[in-house]
């Protein structure tokens, strides 16, 4: 139990020792103009000096937001709000959000080296005085509640009184801000952070002590919300709560929570969700094209939306109608459903689901068939009665693929897909990821030691990447986006770099100078560009 609100009552009196919005913690509400990234012109080759373009060494200095919580005009109302805030702050103070599971040796230990002062906002890695501060990296926790304060989902799956009480506190807190037409966005206290996403009739919030920028948790919550919509659709959700605001949504979702758990689990270390991008399988373009040709419908199949070929849960090819493009987020949600239900791989399935970015108000239908253990064919149709014609066509497609010996070729290609970070041939390079902005796709090597396990080292590296990304895309309301950003810890030195055609993040050995990180980035960029045809899915047939 990591986030708990004690049962407050006479028998458990405690002194309110902290007021949110003051020095020790802060409440952040209402959008502070978080704008999507926009980068101006930039150089496509990186000079070691990094002087010609906006770049910054991001220091672990904590620049905590001052509270922007509003106080209402009417005195009664204001009193009520202050009182409730006091209650809630008391609860948050007396019960730390999560147990401090600190390991001094694994903390990022970013010591200020006197270089550029960090101005990145919302980072809580340090304590604001340049002193080292340990960072927990304990498991994050996520919750969904209804706008009446009834619990819907808890990522730890405990059903206990403390959670139920806390949902009430959270709903009350949100409603205090809602009264003054404000939106509660986050609460910070030291290392701990609670981020909210209000999507009435449901509210979502997540807790973390990783020191990541707010947008990371918010992205997680947004995806969690979209996955929820993929089960119930937005229009149904709104309708049922309009009829009955006391509706117990939790009971309705029973049995489908697995997909939410899988999603949250996969998102912890994933960079494709965050960038809303796809990581296709790395393979010979000729083979990809051949597979795409075999899947292209020869006759018109009405209401066919997408055809997807997966190997090892990676996209080989994706066919779409001329008039539509598929939103990567919808694809992530669909693939998450596949990952979370092993049963879907054992037999042919006709699955209704909502792809909320395509249309949040209706279901589409997916014909899912894993022709081999690791090779899946997915046909998505808007036609509820479309199973039989699709199945007939799928049979002919499978026959065609078999005749070309395509399945064994794909299995071979799947084995050759992963690559190592030594492949670009730069010594000292530990990991990188590259996003092709034009294709909205990413590529990265497999995780190698010390990041091979989803352990603290990988959590730390992913969090550093996220902070670089935050600086480069100005996701936390920074004055301007950076073209390059650099973070050094005791364990690694990381550089983020954006150009009009790509963005690239590299991690090198900690003792290497910044110029080495720059050289590594140049080497990776050259190497990936040479391989682009293999790395990315560039041209797939449309129908």
């Amino acid at each position: 139990m990591s986030l708990g609100i004690p049962q407050a009552g006479p028998s458990r009196s405690r002194t309110p020792s902290l007021y949110l919005g003051q020095k020790e913690g802060s409440i952040r509400s209402r959008s502070r103009g978080l704008s999507p990234s926009s980068t101006g012109n930039s150089t496509s080759s990186l000079s070691p000096s990094l002087s010609s373009s906006p770049s910054r060494e991001i220091q672990p200095e904590s620049v905590e937001q001052n509270g922007t919580g509003t106080e209402a005009g009417g005195s009664n109302l204001a009193d009520a709000r202050i009182g409730l805030k006091r209650l809630i702050s008391r609860d948050l103070t007396t019960n730390p959000i999560s147990k401090p599971t600190l390991s001094p040796t694994l903390s990022p230990n970013i010591s200020g080296n006197g270089e550029a002062k960090g101005t990145d906002r919302g980072m809580v890695l340090g304590n604001g005085k340049g002193k080292e501060r340990e960072v927990g990296f304990s498991p994050r926790r996520y919750y969904i509640l209804t706008h009446a304060g009834k619990p819907v989902f808890d990522s730890l799956e405990v059903e206990e009184d403390q959670t139920t009480n806390m949902m009430g506190v959270i709903q009350a807190l949100i409603s205090i801000y809602a009264e003054s037409e404000d939106k509660l966005r986050s609460i910070k206290r030291g290392r701990h952070k609670i981020v909210f996403l209000l999507r009435s009739p449901v509210y979502l919030f997540g807790t973390s002590d990783w020191g990541e920028p707010d947008f990371v948790l918010r992205t997680h919550l947004e995806l969690l919300h979209l996955q929820l919509l993929s089960i119930v659709t937005e229009v149904q959700l709104k309708k049922v709560f309009a009829r009955q605001s006391n509706f117990n949504l939790r009971r309705l979702l029973e049995g489908t929570e697995t997909s939410l758990h899988t999603l949250l689990n996969d998102m912890q270390m994933d960079l494709t969700f965050m960038t809303s991008a796809l990581q296709p399988m790395r393979m010979a373009p000729a083979l990809r094209d051949a597979a795409g040709q075999a899947l292209a419908p020869t006759d018109k199949i009405s209401d066919l939306l997408y055809v997807l070929l997966l190997v090892n849960d990676k996209v080989v090819t994706l066919l779409r109608p001329r008039k539509h493009s598929i939103h990567p987020t919808d694809l992530h949600l669909l693939m998450n459903v596949l990952r979370s239900s092993p049963g879907l791989k054992s037999s042919e399935t006709w699955l209704p689901l909502c792809l909320p970015k395509f249309n949040p108000n209706g279901f589409v239908y997916a014909l899912i068939d894993y022709v081999k253990d690791n090779i899946g064919l997915i046909f998505v149709s808007a036609d509820r009665e479309g199973f039989e014609p699709l199945q007939a066509w799928k049979k002919s497609v499978v026959k065609k693929l078999e005749m070309d010996n395509m399945f064994s070729k794909l299995e071979m290609a799947g084995l050759a897909d992963p690559y190592l970070c030594i492949d670009p041939g730069y010594p000292g390079l530990r990991h990188f990821w590259y996003k092709s902005r034009q294709n909205v796709q990413v590529t990265m090597p497999v995780w190698e030691a010390p990041y091979d396990e989803p352990n603290l080292a990988r959590r730390r590296l992913v969090t550093i990447y996220q902070r670089l990304y935050d600086g480069i895309h100005a996701r936390s309301g920074q004055a301007e986006p950076l073209k390059q950003a650099f973070i050094r810890t005791d364990s690694e030195a990381c550089l983020g770099w954006i150009t009009p055609s790509f963005e690239l993040y590299v991690a090198v050995d900690a003792h290497l100078p910044k110029s080495a990180a720059v050289a590594a980035a140049n080497a990776v960029a050259r190497w990936v560009r040479k391989q682009e045809a293999w790395m990315f899915l560039r041209e797939a047939p449309v129908f």
């Binding site: 049962q7 706008h147 409603s175």
Partner: protein, 207 residues
């Protein structure tokens, strides 16, 4: 099949300051009573599980501050309540006379779907005090309850744990009536027509 998730009932407790709302809740949930008075600031939350008609339900009790300066917690706070408990002190006429106001406040703020039939329960608390102090007779209270659509009425003592269990059992039972099963998929959404020309386009991956 997985264990069926429990029904959760949201129960709001209203009444003047000092009538014993928090004490009743504490007696019910923690089996404890304290003579010390501590004003509730804003709101407080307690949870208890119980069995009603063979169903296990979780009651989420929303204790509110009776003091006027903490009122007006707002629409959002009362939203989606399954039952509202009105508490007064039998030794205080003023707290009894305030019930009308509390009931109206709730109905206005929560605006339940069917206000005529929304379940209220009235509790006359502090019956452990000497008879000479009693200001509101049982008859008077019951007459009021009847006039408001036969609201169930209990006389309780949080201190002596009199009638507390029974009262909350009734609260849960009446709240449960609000909790009707909704057939979410009863009306199937309109099918999506992807060949229609007016489908919205959106940015994103063009792969």
């Amino acid at each position: 099949m997985a264990t069926r998730k429990k029904v959760l009932l949201k129960v709001i407790i209203l009444g003047d300051s000092g009538v014993g709302k928090t004490s009743l809740m504490n007696q019910y949930v923690n089996k404890r009573f304290s003579n010390q008075y501590k004003a509730t600031i804003g709101a407080d939350f307690l949870t208890r599980e119980l069995v009603v008609d063979d169903r296990v339900v979780t009651m989420q009790l929303w204790d509110t501050a009776g003091q006027e300066r903490f009122q007006s917690l707002g629409v959002a706070f009362y939203r989606g309540a399954d039952c509202c408990v009105l508490v007064y002190d039998v030794n205080s006429s003023k707290s009894f006379e305030a019930l009308d106001g509390w009931r109206d406040e709730f109905l206005i703020q929560a605006s339940p779907h069917d206000p005529e039939n929304f379940p209220f329960v009235v509790l006359g608390n502090k019956i452990d005090m000497e008879d000479s102090k009693r200001m509101v007779s049982q008859k008077r209270a019951m007459t009021w309850c009847q006039s408001k659509g036969n609201i169930p009425y209990f006389e309780t003592s949080a201190k002596e744990a009199i009638n507390v269990e029974q009262a909350f059992q009734t609260i849960a039972k009446n709240a449960l009536q609000q909790e009707a099963e909704v057939e979410l998929y009863a009306d199937y959404p309109d099918p999506i027509k992807i060949d229609a020309e007016n489908q919205q386009g959106y940015g994103g991956c063009s792969c």
